[in-house]
């Protein structure tokens, strides 16, 4: 029983923090929100050069093959500064999918480049399920083409390749498609969190031989993705809590700091408590992964709880800040809007809770 990180991990945290703090402050976050691609190339290059992108990739594919706990550390730091990059999509999610592909050639070709941050591979799997008429993407094995429309695809505009989840007669699979292929149309999707989200339409896009394979898992989401998403929410919540506590100590009303009002301090205490709960729940999921235990249940609980806590805290933070919390010049709104993104992307509350209940009641 030891809940401290080791020296190597602390070093990793320091490295990532330095890189993050170099690229991301509030002004940088705001600037990116106004751009189309929303990619800080310098930040991305730094992540590649420092070997951070290689974190979870196997050594034989040029990766660092570090543990999921290290991944959690990295994403906590990303969250702290609201860093924006295709790390989750490319170096985690796409790398996971490519690692499971079974084609050594494909893995050997792409993973080293992902590990170096040289290419950005973006999984495209989310579709419009709200409408009755929507037809799921499919792979036609005769013509070797993929057709369909993917929604809210992060960083699609900077992708070098897409991993497209598509249905076949025998189940779902993934197609690896260069972003420059004919038949791909990428349209920006302005959104609540000002994140780089895109609709990506695939119209009979050709898939090269060996570039389509059956999906190993039922869910589009891997343990690593859930753990990383949870850790990012934890990091963002940590920073926001700090900002809000500082503000409550400094802002005076009725002749004293508003921190002195329990209507302020107790909701913050509640958030602080739950934050530590979800922080270690996230670490535990990562630890279990590193121990080779079945960690999917923990990872789902971590993702659901972390995003929910972040959102709840964001609501409290805006309220504590009053008008400043609501104005765009204040910091809280950045976190408030981002918190909803965390809640909805990579597993919604409804979906995760269903899986959690399935596990508990099985």
């Amino acid at each position: 029983m030891d809940l401290d990180f080791n020296e190597e991990q602390e070093l990793l945290r320091a490295t990532v923090r330095r890189i993050c703090e170099t690229s991301f402050d509030s002004a940088a976050v705001r600037k990116l929100e106004g751009e189309r691609d929303k990619l800080d190339r310098a930040f991305w290059a730094a992540l590649g050069e420092s070997g951070i992108c290689a974190l979870r990739i196997e050594e034989r594919h040029g990766g660092a093959q570090m543990g999921a706990l290290n991944l959690a550390i990295v994403f906590e730091e990303f969250g702290q500064v609201l860093a924006s990059s295709p790390f989750l999509q490319s170096a985690v999610h796409a790398a996971d999918i490519l690692s499971a592909v079974g084609s050594e050639d494909l893995a050997a070709e792409w993973l080293p480049k992902i590990a170096g941050g040289e290419v950005i591979v973006i999984p495209a799997w989310q579709e419009d399920e709200l409408r009755e008429a929507a037809r799921p993407s499919h792979f036609d094995s005769a013509s070797r083409t993929v057709s369909g429309t993917k929604m809210v695809v992060p960083f699609a505009s900077v992708a070098d390749a897409f991993l497209v989840r598509a249905a076949t007669e025998s189940g779902a699979g993934w197609a690896l498609i260069p972003a420059q292929s004919d038949g791909i149309v990428i349209t920006e999707q302005p959104n609540y969190a000002s994140q780089p989200l895109f609709e990506v339409r695939f119209d009979h896009v050709h898939v090269a031989e060996g570039h389509f394979w059956p999906a190993a898992e039922n869910s589009a989401l891997s343990d690593d993705v859930l753990i990383a998403a949870a850790a990012e929410a934890v990091g963002a919540a940590t920073r926001l809590l700090k900002i809000t506590a500082d503000y409550a100590n400094q802002r005076k009303q009725f002749g004293r700091p508003i921190a002195g009002f329990q209507a302020i301090s107790h909701p913050l205490a509640d958030c602080a408590t739950e934050l530590e709960g979800v922080r270690y729940l996230t670490y535990q999921a990562a630890w279990a992964k590193d121990e080779g235990q079945d960690c999917a249940h923990l990872a789902r609980m971590a993702k659901y709880s972390a995003a929910a806590l972040f959102r709840r805290l964001a609501t409290v933070a805006v309220q504590v800040h009053g008008g400043i919390g609501y104005s765009t010049e204040g910091e809280p709104q950045l976190f408030y809007r981002r918190s909803k993104y965390h809640e909805l992307m990579y597993g919604t509350a409804a979906g995760l809770k269903k899986s959690i209940a399935d596990h508990v009641l099985s």
């Binding site: 302005p190 959104n191 805006v318 309220q319 008008g323 609501y326 408030y336 909805l344 409804a350």
Partner: protein
Amino acid sequence: MNFAFSEEEMAFLKDFQQYLEQEKAGPDSSVIFAPWRETDSWLVDSPERRGFMKRLAQAGYIGMSWEKQYGGRERPGVYDYLLNEELSSQGAPIIGKGVGCIGKTIIAHGSDKLKQEFLPQILAADIEFALGYSEPGAGSDLASLRLRAERRGDEWVLNGQKMWTTSAHFADWYWVAARTDPEAPKHKGISVFLVPMDHPGLTIKEIKTMGDHRTNEVFFDEVNIGPDYLVGEENAGWRYVCEALDYERFALYTVGPLLLKFEALVELAKVARRDGRPLSDDPVVRDRIAEFACEVEMATMLQRRVIAKAIKGEVPTVEAAMYKYFSTGLGRRIANYAIDCLGPLGLLKSGAPGAPFGGRWEMSDRATVVDTIGGGSTEVQKNIVARRGLGLMVGA
């Protein structure tokens, strides 16, 4: 006990609804009736909306409850309520602070000169006001405001800053609370002034908000105004500010937008699908909607208490505090839940391909955030309920 409005009141409402139907056929309809604007749909902030207001005035709907001697119709205050409930339910600008707290304060405390200058303009909807109470250091603790008004000879000279003045960028006059006696206890040294918004000493700076809704900081640099534009008595301003709540008791507390929002959520559940079936088939969604249904009905009851008390001629301070924070918190939770129902696509803004319901809920969530903060925060309202409703010996 009677939860319904009288036949006469309902007949009036029906007439007014018919009047609005005509307006909706007009060319500016889409600017005037804009429920998607949510929290700022009540503002008279465009030529089209000013035109609408002037037509309302010509049709006799403005100043319904003013005394006849000031050009009003001396109808009971509930008619003001019915008008604004209908307007807000349709996302139209409401009959606001000019005919409400400002006009009524001028009637009660203003000089003949102020009455002659302002009342006819208000009745004709020729004038829009901005309200200047909040300051950077005076939010919930409004009485600690520091904007300084010094007497220099015949004039008053104002220096300092106001914050969160929603209408500053389109209003004609500024209704401002300023400190005229810095030595007096904080509630005792405040006076109210009327300042022309185009005064060269005023600098208006936009504050953008996450609700896409504009508010402003206003800086006062040697803003000199004549003695006539002090409203009522010097140092009696805090009383006037507090009385305003009384004057607004019919106008501010409409429930229509909340009901619309809930109906839209029900519609969402019937239309949007998850795993191939309408959300309304999901027992978890049904359970949550049942809870919202109850809360919306409770909010409606709290709103009815405000109006019923106002109808009796009493000041619904506690009732208004209860309704304000309960309904605004509920509105936020409904908007938030609606996005959750929509999943990741709920993030998409109006105009984004695939944005469900035209991005309405994305907008709604951002817009409703201000509701629990502005106009007396939830915390302040709960203090009022605790102290004045429950008689608790609370501190500040």
